[in-house]
């Protein structure tokens, strides 16, 4: 994939933005208070945990690997914040701790996948189960207390106008746009597009993959920190339903699960879609089960349209070569 193609905003992400805008419009029309600062803050607060977790997952997915350990790390981070942010560690100590824990889990994942050559899909099931166990050992039942600095500071508004969540999301996106142009950022796309070619042209494939697992783990740690800020308490099972939606956010955002195509921007928008959809359906008075039905259908729509554009692109470039995204490269 040439540099120009890679830096062009992905088609899938553009579709995701379009879907988001349409849904937000429907939501804003059907509920008058939707455009108030309070409602927007609430919407972004609901989005941000999934957005940050999906952002981390995207890095691993871009290299063509799987990572199912996210919900385990989020669970650990949540209970660590709930047990230490008031007391020994304080709000900042707890943040450092959860980022380090996440990175450590990522390092273990990366070592097992890259160092020992195990299959990421299965290995991260193992680490996920073990992490959920660690969370349950730290806090066996829902409880604990999250420091007010975290709970209020991350869910409020700056000067009553700008939601803190918006600042965080913009910060993450800016970080991503810079990161995508660094050596590592470019290497991630190269490894995901064609691992052999990337290796042959001198990239350290193993190091790249290892680092994406570590960065993803740190992102899950942050997501768990933000989750604690939202809920104000610890629950070792709070993140159980999260896994499928993390992948859904990544897929809706136009990132190919075969690697090499997509980006964090799309995943953040994808997380936004999954959240604004709930608000929209609620505002329209639809029963809550429609949310699931819609999530599934929107995933397919976003992906199908994205696929069509990629198909066209490849056909133009290769003259009708068959497209096989379903099978990851060996």
């Amino acid at each position: 994939m040439s540099l120009a193609t890679r830096l062009r905003p992905a088609r899938g992400a553009a579709i995701a933005v379009l879907i988001y805008l349409v849904m937000y419009l429907v939501y804003a029309i059907s509920e008058a208070s939707a455009t108030s600062v309070f409602a927007i803050t609430n919407l972004l607060d609901n989005t941000i945990v999934l957005a940050i977790a999906a952002a981390g997952l995207t890095l691993v997915v871009l290299t063509g690997e799987f990572d199912l350990s996210g919900i385990g790390v989020i669970a650990i981070a949540n209970v660590v914040v709930a047990t230490t942010s008031v007391g020994i560690l304080g709000w900042f100590g707890a943040l450092v701790a959860v980022v380090l824990i996440g990175a450590a889990v990522g390092l273990i994942n990366g070592w097992l996948v890259v160092g020992l050559g195990l299959q990421s899909l299965a290995v991260t099931i193992g680490t996920m189960i073990a992490c959920e166990g660690v969370a349950l050992v730290i806090l066996a039942a829902p409880g604990g207390e999250v420091s007010d600095t975290v709970a209020n500071g991350l869910t409020g508004d700056i000067a009553d106008v700008v939601p803190v969540a918006a600042v965080i999301i913009v910060g993450v996106l800016m970080l991503w746009f810079v990161f995508a142009r660094t050596r590592l950022g470019i290497a991630i796309y190269a490894v995901g597009s064609d691992e052999n070619a990337a290796g042959l042209s001198g990239l350290n494939v193993r190091r790249t993959k290892l680092l994406t697992f570590v960065l993803a783990g740190a992102a899950y740690g942050c997501a768990g920190y933000l989750l604690s800020a939202q809920t104000g308490s610890g629950d070792p099972r709070a993140s159980n339903t999260f896994l499928l939606f993390m992948y859904a956010a990544v897929a809706i955002g136009g990132t190919s699960l075969a690697g090499g195509r997509g980006g964090v921007f799309g995943s953040v928008v994808g997380a936004g879609i999954l959240t604004v959809m709930q608000k929209m359906l609620f505002a329209l008075g639809a029963a809550s089960f429609y949310t699931s039905v819609f999530s599934g259908i929107i995933m397919l729509v976003a992906l199908f349209v994205g696929n069509l554009s990629v198909l066209r692109l490849r056909r133009r470039r290769r003259g009708g070569a068959e497209w096989q995204s379903a099978t990851p490269r060996p």
């Binding site: 199912l68 097992l112 020992l116 050559g117 195990l118 299959q119 899909l121 299965a122 290995v123 099931i125 193992g126 680490t127 996920m128 189960i129 073990a130 992490c131 959920e132 166990g133 660690v134 969370a135 349950l136 050992v137 730290i138 066996a140 070792p236 499928l244 992948y247 859904a248 897929a251 190919s256 699960l257 075969a258 029963a287 809550s288 089960f289 429609y290 949310t291 699931s292 039905v293 819609f294 999530s295 599934g296 259908i297 995933m299 397919l300 992906l303 199908f304 696929n307 198909l311 068959e322 497209w323 096989q324 995204s325 379903a326 099978t327 990851p328 490269r329 060996p330």
Partner: protein, 338 residues
């Protein structure tokens, strides 16, 4: 299988036998090792729980493994094609819920309710297969999306019904005995034979391997790729449905999320059994061994009477350990055959 094994029986020296077995079918050795590990776990259960007999432990492990044994056959077929089925948990839950709604706790309607439920589950699998084979949606996303969608549909249909009673005949099937052996063990034996023959003894099975290891070569050869893909996913839906029926019978009250804990273990069972997620590799006996191993692990961990957290940690570590063992064994095997 039996035909391939036959020559090894005449060998006398164990080392030669082993080398020969590895040459004859290198995939059988890992299966034996995984089954041996499962046996060790069952013996460990017996030691930890001296009051029970070994046969009791064995039958407990086998009876609770039936859900995984059945559901991971379908998962194995999709992984063999280089795909995956993430809708298994939801389909199993829908199946359990549907059978209990249709029968309403009575045996009378079972003769038509069971085929209707299984047809519905196979249809969901077929939709997955159609999306993957014809619309070229990646399997991970297709099955994830259909799982989320159909969960919503199920939620809509069953809103307000948290738990449903299950027909007594289904409960009797899971708790009954015949000649002193629990009925589920006969079911497992029958299922394993049929599944192994389908995957490793029929033309369709071999064609699935061909597609999994090289889709382009398979299409050049003129194999019916779309048809076989749809078949594999439909079978996966069907197996998930059967699993759901059995789960409903076992737990005597169905809920929509009853199948959720089944999804990730099916993937783990297939991979522990020696399959590669890129497709084209792995035999059903391996998946079966993986399922038995996970079930034995679950049993021994339960007997340890530890907190849920410690159980999870041990389970996670052992799953990773099993993968590790398996990958090293592949390396060792390759060294032997060179």
């Amino acid at each position: 299988m039996a035909k391939r094994d036959a020559p090894t029986l005449s060998e006398s020296k164990p080392a030669r036998l082993r080398a020969h077995a590895a040459r004859a079918n290198p995939e059988l050795l890992p299966v034996a090792v995984v089954l041996a590990c499962a046996a060790l776990l069952i013996i460990a259960t017996k030691i930890l729980n001296p009051g029970s007999s070994l046969t009791q432990q064995l039958s407990a492990v086998l009876v609770t493994s039936i859900f995984l044994v059945v559901a991971s056959f379908g998962q194995g077929l999709t992984i063999l094609l280089g795909g995956i089925d993430l809708s298994i948990g939801v389909v199993a839950g829908l199946s359990a819920m549907m059978i209990s709604v249709l029968t309403n706790g009575q045996n009378a309607s079972l003769p038509w309710a069971v085929p209707a439920t299984l047809a519905f589950c196979a249809a969901i699998g077929m939709i997955n297969g159609l999306g993957i084979a014809l619309a070229k949606v990646p399997p991970f996303i297709m099955t994830l999306a259909s799982g989320i969608t159909f969960f919503g549909v199920g939620l809509g249909f069953t809103s307000g019904l948290a738990q449903r009673p299950v027909a007594p005949a289904l409960q009797a099937l899971m708790s009954g005995h015949w000649l002193g052996v629990p009925i589920p063990i006969y079911l497992i034996a029958g299922f394993v034979v049929i599944a192994a023959i389908f995957q490793n003894g029929t033309a369709e099975g071999r064609q699935l391997y061909a597609i999994g290891s090289g889709p382009r070569a398979a299409s050049v050869l003129g194999l019916p790729i779309s048809g076989l893909t749809i078949l594999a996913y439909a079978l996966s839906g069907l197996c998930a449905g059967v699993s759901g029926l059995l789960l409903a019978g076992y737990s005597s009250a169905a809920t929509l999320d009853i199948g959720d804990p089944l999804l990730l273990p099916t993937i783990a069972a297939v991979v522990i059994g020696g399959a590669r997620v890129v497709g084209g590799k792995g035999i059903y006996l391996g998946t079966f061994a993986g399922a038995i191993f996970l079930s034995a692990l679950e049993t021994v961990i339960t007997v340890l009477s530890l907190s849920q957290g410690l159980r999870n940690i041990i389970e996670g570590v052992i799953i990773v350990g099993a993968l590790l063992l398996q990958s090293e064994r592949w390396g060792a095997l390759r060294r032997w055959s060179n």
